[in-house]
């Protein structure tokens, strides 16, 4: 197991180098230019443009810039944002904290509500309960978040007067976090509910459940001791993979609610071609995705001994 982990971790290095290289190359050769964006309507003042390119080091050859960036990034220095007057690291650390809180809250809700609804739908297969659950989550998933979010916000704030406008971030226990967490959960609910429902239905029709039932075990005991244990392996994998998405932030949700998380940081940098921020956030997102995949693999092995044997 330790050897397996070590090999996986070593693989991270070339993967991060590849990701950073491609991100850097796309930024360097792609359309847009942070200095021109910074200059706004004076973008054609060539003298200022050249002075600013020199100031930010963008006048150097591609490989020199890339090598310099990576050397500094390895020491935790991701450069300085061109448009936000701060070191990228100082922008990323608090943003990661905010997004992690949001993501973890959504993950808990997703696990409790998604798994609960999935089990309920499976237990009441083809009844009105099943149909209602599945239909509701399909509808929630089908409405784009940039439509659903403002509508829910106006409904809850202006019509029902249930809360102040959820704009900004006052911590996960503030009322401002309710709607973003709900939307983050709702966006992934369909996947978890359907996965859970299918797994539970499959487990319930298996031979070992039939045997347990024949032995006279109650339905509750069968569900808890036999069905859930076996059905949860694929569900956990699904939730694990979703967690990398939740922990790296949602561009739309964070932007709509002005949440200073990783998603809005990335989105803002993308709009303005703020390369130091774009590359820094991309590297961190890549690392998070790789780490969560690793954790999922480990958990998978712990839950399913067959996976360990195969390794």
């Amino acid at each position: 197991m330790i050897r397996y982990l070590a090999v996986r971790l070593i693989y991270f290095i070339p993967m991060l180098v590849l990701v950073s290289f491609f991100t850097f190359a796309m930024g360097y050769y792609g359309p847009g230019d942070p200095v021109r964006v910074l200059m706004k309507e004076n973008w054609n003042d060539e003298e200022t443009y050249q002075l600013l390119r020199k100031k930010y080091g963008f006048d150097r050859p591609f490989l020199v810039q890339y090598a310099d960036y990576m050397a500094k990034a390895a020491q935790g220095d991701f450069g300085r944002s061109v448009l936000r007057a701060m070191p990228v690291r100082d922008l990323m650390i608090p943003a990661l904290g905010v997004t992690a809180q949001l993501g973890l809250a959504a993950l808990v809700c997703l696990s409790v509500v998604g798994v609960g609804l999935g089990v309920l739908a499976a237990m009441r297969q083809n009844t009105w309960i099943d149909h209602t659950i599945v239909t509701t989550v399909i509808v929630l998933q089908s409405i784009p978040v940039f439509v659903l979010a403002p509508i829910l916000m106006m409904l809850l704030v202006l019509h029902l007067r249930l809360m102040p406008t959820p704009a900004g971030w006052d911590g996960i226990f503030s009322t401002k976090a309710i709607l973003p967490v709900f939307l983050l959960t709702a966006l992934s609910l369909l996947i978890v509910v359907r996965q859970t429902r299918e797994s539970v239905i499959e487990a319930r029709s298996s031979d070992y459940v039939r045997t347990a039932r024949a032995k006279g075990l109650s339905e509750r005991a069968i569900l808890l001791r036999h069905v859930l244990k076996n059905a949860m392996t694929p569900v956990l994998t699904t939730i694990g993979l979703l967690s990398s998405w939740l922990l790296t932030g949602s561009l739309f949700i964070e932007s709509i609610f002005s949440i200073p998380g990783f998603g809005s940081l990335y989105f803002g940098a993308l709009k303005t071609r703020d390369y130091p921020v774009l590359i820094g956030t991309t590297l961190v997102v890549s690392l998070i995705v790789m780490l969560t995949n690793l954790v999922v693999d480990i958990c998978y092995g712990l839950l399913d001994p067959r996976a360990r044997v195969e390794r």
């Binding site: 910074l38 054609n44 003042d45 002075l51 007057a85 009105w128 099943d130 704009a167 900004g168 002005s258």
Partner: protein, 598 residues
Amino acid sequence: MRPLHRTLPAVTLLVLASLLAASCGAPQTPPSAQAPQASQAPQTVRETVIVEQTVRETVVVEQQVVVTPTSAPAPQAVTDIPPRPDGTPAPPEKQVFRFDLPSDFWPDPISLGNWYGEWNVLTSAGLTTEGPDGQIQPELAERWESSADGRTWTFFLKQDAKFSDGSPITMDDVTFSLISFLDPRGISEGLYRAPFQDIEGYQAFIDGTATEISGIKAVDASTLTFTLTRPIVYFPKALGFWTARIVSKKNVTEGGQEWWRTPVTSGMYKVGTFEYGQRNYLELVPNEYYTLGPKPKLQKIIIERVTDPSTRLTRYLNNETDALYYPEPADVAAALRGGELKDDLLGNVIGGYFFFYFRHDRPPFDDPKVRQAFIMATDQDRLARTVLEGTLVKAPSLMPRGAECYPTSDNSVPFDPARARELLAESTYAGQMPLVRIQVSEVSGIPVVGRWTRVATAMADMWQENLGISVQLQTKEFEFEDSQDGAAQIFRSSRSPLVLDPGVMTLQFDNGKGIADQAKYVNPDVQQMLVAADGEQDATKRCEMYQQADKTLFEDGIVAGTWGISNWAFAKPYVRGISTANRWQFYLSMPQTYIAEP
């Protein structure tokens, strides 16, 4: 009876649909969600828009655009919203004014990375400043005078001026601030340095051959001179710009790159609370040491970053803010039509403008007759009334509105499709018109089909209808992207006046500068006229020269269409004394603004 399990999903859908519908309905519907009160039935126009998605790939998108005829009352050419009547001021503890900004902000008046930083006029003093009426006023400078040849300006500073920490504002602070602002390599990007490029020795300083700007001299502790390479009558106005402000040298040099986290201010307000990072939040409170102008009536100004426009609108409607800065054009259009927020609307046409310009070096627009033909075939008034829904007006001049010499009549080229066709027939491209491409970049930077894409589409339709020329539309994220492929000949752009003076035309249209550089426009006569006007002491003669230059610029076909920027904002009816000035939203009226008793 139908089984419950069959009907429940439908019921669920119905409930969700009702919730969605309810959230869009009365009584709190934001203006953007309201249906226009059209007096005529909408017409459906089928049109083909060619959208070039990448440099090499062109896709044809067919779309239906519903053109709603103007509602009753029909949108007027935008007139200035009259000032609000006076009211009884609320007690000091209620003098709190709150608004949101759409992007990051920080208290640094001399850095131009600060996109929405105009509010820094509240916290920082300049040598001069501008009143809400656009007139230049003394601030840190008590008075100023020019030499007989108009090349040397001497400013006499007030002696009792202090920063918000009680320390005196010295000449050293003044020169440090100005040089920091003018040096793109320093702590400020120095992007708006154009009005100062005529200071003697500035070019040598930029080139690195001089360590100081020789034209800026502190004669003594209270006398500062600027020596210019040519006479410029409007120079004191340039020093009123919101980035040419005074910061504390000690604060900046000791505070490092993020000195603005604990700023010492020179303006009427000081920073009470400032958060930047997880939250971008600022509280301004009166600077008790400020003696350079009137004391503000508002006891607290609260600014927060809220990036999403619908969230900003929700906060405003929910009384969480008192003003809505930069509302969406659709919300303004709804208010102009008499919508829910009509009494909250503030606004006037300001000195800046949006425009489409021709590249004079690219066929067929290297022929002046083709440029004239395209301009005469464009009904700019109609575009303002219909596609722009009355939120902008056709600009009659390239001078900034509100500045002296601004014409009372229209200097632009009139709409005349018959003459346009004649000119086209007389041009060198008659019968052999190359492919014409118009490039649109929306303000936000993201390639969305926004209002400028709609305006460009309508312009293309007009040219098709009036000249029989089909024009390809291409959208790019940024205006400057064309410099990489050189395919388009017509572009959208905008300008806000760096100086509220007709002299700003020299900065924009002199050869090799500003818009002239973008359009590759060269006319030595215009250059000579503008430079001469800048130095002319006789106000009447000066205005005549600018007027002539203005007309020549239009006749030379530098712009395909120009619309004056309107300075729209919403403010609650209890906010009094507030007005949008010729520039910088409502900030210049802040000294007079107060909260009135209901």
